[in-house]
Symmetry: C2
Subunit: 380 residues, 2 copies
C-alpha cells in the first residue's frame, strides 16, 4: 500500500487469469532447493509456482541474476505466491490474478480474493516499475534527507503490498509491504529498502498480539537486535489516525531508507521479514476463523474498517501520492480498502466492553514482547 | 463540509439535547414576518424555532443586529431548523442535537438523524467561530489571490453544512454548504461568502436532475444571470474524483470568494440559495422514498457511497484541512460520511445497465437546464 503505488500509473491490463494457468514455465526444469537459488543450472528462472509470469522478460532476468533488481523481483514473486497459497488453503475461494503493464515501463500483478468464506477481501499486489521520478516524488525523498539532483531522475522500484480483511471479526486484518528502490542522480545510483507488517484486530487478544510481535521480532533479531524496538516504534508512529488520536491497529514493524550494512544483507533482512508474514498471521486465522459472533461484533468490525479507510485515504503516503498521480491504476492502489465499512456519528463503546478494551490499546500502544530496551514496560 | 470545518477544533461538547427542548426562548415575543426580520420590536432575537440556542450570546447578537456576523449566524440557524424540520417530516426519526463550544472562541450546533426509515444518515451542522487563522489557512487563502499579511490573522467564520444520505437507492444524496468569512489584515477587514448545493444520485433520473438544477438556477437568476452557468461549471470542476475520472454526482452550484456587488446583496444571494435547498430536494425524496428496490440497487448505492467517501477524505478542502488541524471536532467534520460504504475490486456495471448510465453522466457532466450560454448543449 505504501510508496510503490506512486508509480502505478498509465497502466494497461494486458493479461487476466482467472485460474492458475501460467504460460509454459515448467520447461525451466529443476532448481536448487536452498537459499535464493531460483535459477536452474542453465541460469533459467523457475517460475512455475508464481501467480503469473514475471513483469521483466525472463531472458532479461536470466541475463542479470546477480543484479538486486532481479533478486528483488524474484523474491516478491515468490512471497506473493506463498502468501496467496497460504490464504487459499484457509478458504474455499481462489485469488483472481490480474497482470498489467505500465506504459512508462514495468507493471504489476494484482491478486485479489473477494467474498470468500474466511476472507472478505484479500489483495496481494506486486509491482516492478521503472521510468522517471516525478518532481513531487523527488521533493518527498529530499525531505527525507536524500541527496538528489534537480529535474527528472531515472528510477527502479519493486515491491509487494498486501491487505487481508477476514470475514470473522475475531480474525485481525493484516497489512504488509516490502520494497526496493533505485534512483539515478548524476553518476551515482542510490538504493534503499523499506517495508513493514502490521496487525489490525477488531477485538483485542493479547496472545495473538504476542505471537504476532514475537514472530516479527525473531525475524528482526536475526539481523540486528536494535531493529525490532526501533521499527516497532516507527510502526506505532506511522499508523496513526491523528484526528482520532488512535493507532490503526496493534502495530508491528515499519521502516524506510534502509541501506546498511550492505545491499545483500538488507535483502536478506527484508526477505526474512516477508517470510515471517505467514507464520505470524496464519495461526491467528486458524485460531479464530470459526469463532462465534453476532451482529454486534460485525457492526463493530465495520466501524473499525471505516477507521482503516480513514487512515489509508487521509494519511497513507503511498495511497495519497498514488492517487494524486494522473492515470494511476487506482484499482491496485485501492484494493487495500475493505469490502464494507461504516461510519456512525458519536459511536462510543459501553464502559468495560471488549470494544472499549481495543480502543484503550489503540490510544496507548503497548509493548508486546520483551526487548533489551523495554524490560519494565511489557504488558504493564 | 467545506472550509468551515477547518476551524472546528479544540471543542468541548457542552450541551446535548435529544429532544427539542430549548432554553426558554419563547419569551422573545413576536417577530416581523417579512425579510430578515428576526428581531422583535424590542431588538430581541426570536430563537424559538432554532435547534438550540445560538452560539453567540443573545445579548451580543441583540447589540449588533446590523452586523453581517449577526445576520449570517441568524440566517444559518434559521436554515438549519427549516431543513431539519423538512427532513423530519419525511421520516419517523428525529434529529439529535449537539451544541458544542470551541475553546478558542465560538462553537457549533450539530444535528444528526441516523438509522431513519427514509434517511440512513443526515447531518446538518452550523458553526460560528472566531480566533486566529493558522498559517496554513492564510497560505491557502493567499494561493486563491487574497492579499493578506504574514503572521496570525484574526478571523470570523459562520456557516452551515449538510449531507443527507437516504435509505432508498432511488433517492439521491444531497450536500450543501453556505459560509461567511471575515479576516483582519492590517487595518482592513476582508470578507467573502462561499457555498454551494450538489446532488449525488445512485440512479440517473433526468426529471430529478432538471428539477434540481432549475430550482438552483432560479435562485441564482434572481441575482445575476451569469451566476448559474458559472457556478454550475465550478461545481462540476470541484466535485471531481480525479483518480477515477468521475464527478461525485450530477453537480449543482459551487462558488467561493464572492464579495460583489455588496455585502447585503451577497447575503441575499446566499440566503436564496440556501432557501432553495428544500424545494430542490424534498420533492425528489417524496417521489422516490417508497420506490421498490432489491439487493442489486442497495449494493450499487453502497459502492457509490464508497466513491463519496473517497472524494470527501481525499479531495475535499474543508475535510482535509479540518482533520489535519490538531484537536478538530472530527465527529462534526465526518458526519458527512455515509453510515455504510463498499469497495469492490474492479467493479464494472453490465453494458446498457442503469448503473452504467449513471457512470456515463458522472464521466461527462451534462447541461440540465437551458441558459444563455448553452442553448445547443442541453440534454444532447
Amino acid at each position: 500500500m505504501v510508496v510503490l503505488s506512486l508509480f502505478v500509473r498509465g497502466c494497461t491490463l494486458i493479461y487476466v487469469q482467472n485460474k492458475r494457468n501460467l504460460l509454459k514455465c515448467s520447461k525451466y526444469g529443476t532448481v536448487f532447493t536452498t537459499g535464493l537459488a531460483l535459477f536452474t543450472t542453465k541460469n533459467e528462472l523457475n517460475t512455475k509456482n508464481f501467480m503469473a509470469v514475471p513483469i521483466t522478460p525472463l531472458d532479461r532476468l536470466a541475463q542479470r541474476p546477480d543484479d538486486m533488481k532481479t533478486k528483488m523481483e524474484v523474491i516478491i514473486m515468490e512471497i506473493q505466491s506463498e502468501v496467496c497459497k497460504a490464504l487459499e488453503k484457509e478458504d474455499t475461494v481462489s485469488f483472481k490474478v490480474d497482470r498489467w503493464e505500465r506504459q512508462e515501463g514495468g507493471g504489476g500483478i494484482t491478486c485479489v480474493l473477494q467474498n470468500g468464506k474466511v476472507f472478505e477481501k484479500a489483495g496481494v499486489n506486486i509491482s516492478v516499475v521503472q521510468g522517471e521520478l516525478p518532481p513531487s516524488a523527488v521533493a518527498q525523498m529530499r525531505s527525507r534527507g536524500k541527496k538528489l539532483e534537480d529535474g527528472k531522475l531515472p528510477f527502479f522500484a519493486a515491491g509487494i503490498s498486501a491487505v487481508i480483511h477476514p470475514v470473522n471479526p475475531m480474525v485481525p486484518t493484516i497489512h504488509f509491504n516490502y520494497r526496493y528502490f533505485e534512483v539515478q542522480s548524476g553518476n551515482e545510483t542510490q538504493w534503499w529498502f523499506g517495508g513493514g507488517t502490521d496487525l489490525t484486530p477488531y477485538y483485542l487478544n493479547v496472545a495473538d498480539c504476542i505471537h504476532f510481535h514475537s514472530t516479527l521480532k525473531e525475524a528482526c533479531d536475526k539481523h540486528d537486535k536494535s531493529y525490532y524496538p526501533k521499527f516497532k516504534k516507527w510502526c506505532d508512529d506511522y499508523f496513526h489516525v491523528v484526528h482520532r488520536g488512535e493507532r490503526r491497529g496493534v502495530g508491528g514493524i515499519f521502516f524506510d531508507d534502509l541501506d546498511t550494512p550492505s545491499k545483500e544483507e538488507c535483502l536478506n533482512f527484508v526477505t526474512d521479514c516477508a517470510k515471517a508474514v505467514i507464520p505470524s498471521y496464519i495461526p491467528l486465522v486458524k485460531r479464530h476463523k470459526m469463532a462465534n459472533y453476532t451482529k454486534v461484533e460485525r457492526e463493530w468490525q465495520l466501524l473499525r474498517r471505516g477507521r482503516y479507510v480513514e487512515f489509508n485515504l487521509i494519511y497513507d503516503r503511498g495511497t495519497k501520492f498514488g492517487l494524486y498521480t494522473p492515470g494511476a491504476r487506482y484499482e491496485s492502489i485501492l484494493m487495500s480498502l475493505p469490502l464494507y465499512a461504516k461510519w456512525e456519528y458519536m459511536n462510543q463503546p459501553p464502559k468495560d466492553s471488549p470494544e472499549e478494551a481495543l480502543l484503550e490499546v489503540l490510544r496507548n500502544p503497548r509493548e508486546w514482547v520483551e526487548t533489551d530496551m523495554n524490560k519494565k514496560q511489557v504488558l504493564q
